[in-house]
Amino acid sequence: MKTRLLHISFILSLVACKSEPIENYVDAPTESPLQIPTLFSENIIDPVIPINNPQTEEGIALGKKLFFDPILSGNNTQACADCHAPENAFTDINQFSDGINGVLGPRNSMPLFNLAWNYDEKFFWDGRAFSLENQALEPVVHINEMNSTWPEVEAKLQEHSEYPELFQQAFQTLTIDSTLVVKAIAQFERTLISSNSKFDKYLLGETDLTPEELEGFNVFMDEERGDCFHCHGSDKNPLWTDNIFHNNGLDETFTDLGLGAVTGDPADNGKFKSPSLRNLSFTAPYMHDGRFETLDQVINHYSEGLKNSSTIDPLMKKVSQGGVGLTNDDKAALKAFLLTLSDYEFISNPNFTNP
């Protein structure tokens, strides 16, 4: 019965398509919904896709081209991908990235993956941009980054031999503006899904972990040892971040106020967004200012390097002693576990590399 109904509605929809004017039919971009990984669909809620920017094949392809194209920068030398390189899970290897003027920004570049699952849609270390579309407006004009202007970029794209046609295919207009540029980029960014780490495969029953890796997961989940899961996800939250802002005890006084500068609330000073722990093998250096070059340094920080301040997160324990003091075995296991969250298929996925 149900199938019969389906058939009928299918036929109806075919008929409906047929009666549409031919030009529209040809021009409409092809829908390309996100392929949601099993562990995500089973364990967490759906990603955020704005109603006014659905994923389409043409939009994604255009976004990818723009992402890798230095045309977005003032002197045509820098693309988004320069600071967000596929082989580094879309971040870079520098502590601070230099823009086209050779000036270093104050923060470490961020890896880009599973961004559609940032439910609060607060982007950057301090959450100052709401939505991926809005985020992409910023680097193009940022003086320490691509240092261009939108009218300039729009004009260059409009005069380009290929772009007007590509915008036509993706958005059915030959007129290029910043809104469409960031829509295309955001569509591409939403396809950057990382879900094939060793640990994912372990959860899916496709591979085993070593005893040390398993023990490391226990350290991660144990409130008396690592207690990382309250902020950095778990087997039940495959994002490996809560996407929430915390002060994890890096400093006693702050040169960068982080969230506090955005909200104006001193109680938010020194808070930054928890990064995902996926792909740490490719994303060093670590923290908002890239202060740690290795995971050992990060683990030592949580174990005995905590610095007290009034906004430090209550989950940071035994701060007066610098932390809970993990044993060397616990540290080694924790590191081994963290490395199982790295997704080698993600960094070599041909869909994500320079066209």
């Binding site: 409130e223 087997d235 939250n237 809560d242 007066s320």
Partner: protein
């Protein structure tokens, strides 16, 4: 007996659905508001992040995070028939989210006893809830899995006049020191007493946060401030102290 009750329940649900279609005037939705106080003084997230509360043990403290789960809101009428307003609610005081809600089930007007579960009962606790997982609300498998009942966090002033963090997290009590996990149930059946449901009833429930630190166990934050999830006895004390944390504030 249990079966009978659920059959009755299901019958009622059908009944109420049926009525819903034909005659909207008869049934009504109930709106719930959760408000919070510290011994009579109103607490919202604007009171967070400042040391301004004093607990029963005399420690000065602040709140930085408060969210908790309630489930199985149930209205039982004088004939002992019960309406279960399905679902669960994560009440997030930190972000001022979920403090007010209206379950979809509609109820015939009348006098009912109102109750709910603080946390999840054991059946509900071991299901998989994507929204709660996404909110990082789950409990590690090594503690039996399931979900948090409450996360209350902040700072207090310790003996040395230093600010120290506390994380008062309530879960199902578990002793994981032996080979097998030993559980004690610590979800709380909160009975709020009688309410009258008429058209568009709004129920306000109040949580006195100070109660979690007061009776029967005077909570000593200096001893018990962190790593409380694997602490079976601390969980039982939370359960005991939570018995009087909720009360019916108003029905309008």
């Amino acid at each position: 007996m249990k079966n009978l009750a659920s059959i009755l329940c299901i019958c009622f649900m059908f009944f109420s659905c049926h009525e819903d279609k034909d005659d909207n005037v008869l049934n009504s939705n109930v709106n719930f508001n959760f408000t919070h106080v510290w011994d009579g003084i109103s607490v919202t997230n604007s009171e967070f992040n400042t040391i301004q509360f004093t607990n029963a043990n005399g420690e000065q403290m602040s709140i930085e995070k408060l969210r908790y789960l309630i489930s199985n809101i149930t209205l039982t009428n004088t004939d002992n028939a019960s309406f279960s307003l399905d679902g669960y609610y994560l009440i997030d005081v930190t972000n001022n989210q979920g403090l007010s809600f209206t379950p979809t089930a509609s109820i015939p007007p009348g006098v009912y006893n109102l109750s709910f579960t603080f946390g999840f009962n054991n059946d509900d606790n071991y299901q998989n809830y994507p929204d709660l997982n996404a909110a990082s609300w789950s409990v590690p498998e090594m503690l039996g899995g399931g979900y948090h009942y409450m996360q209350l966090e902040g700072k207090f002033i310790d003996n040395a006049s230093a600010e120290v963090g506390y994380a008062y997290h309530a879960i199902r009590a578990v002793d994981n020191s032996g080979d097998e996990l030993q559980f004690t149930d610590t979800f709380i059946e909160v009975d709020l007493g009688e309410i009258t449901v008429s058209n568009n009833t709004a129920v306000t429930v109040e949580m006195n946060i100070a109660e979690w630190f007061k009776t029967p166990n005077t909570w000593d934050l200096i001893e018990l401030n962190n790593m409380l999830m694997p602490n079976h006895d601390a969980q039982v004390m939370m359960y005991e102290n939570g018995q009087n944390a909720f009360s019916l504030k108003s029905v309008e």
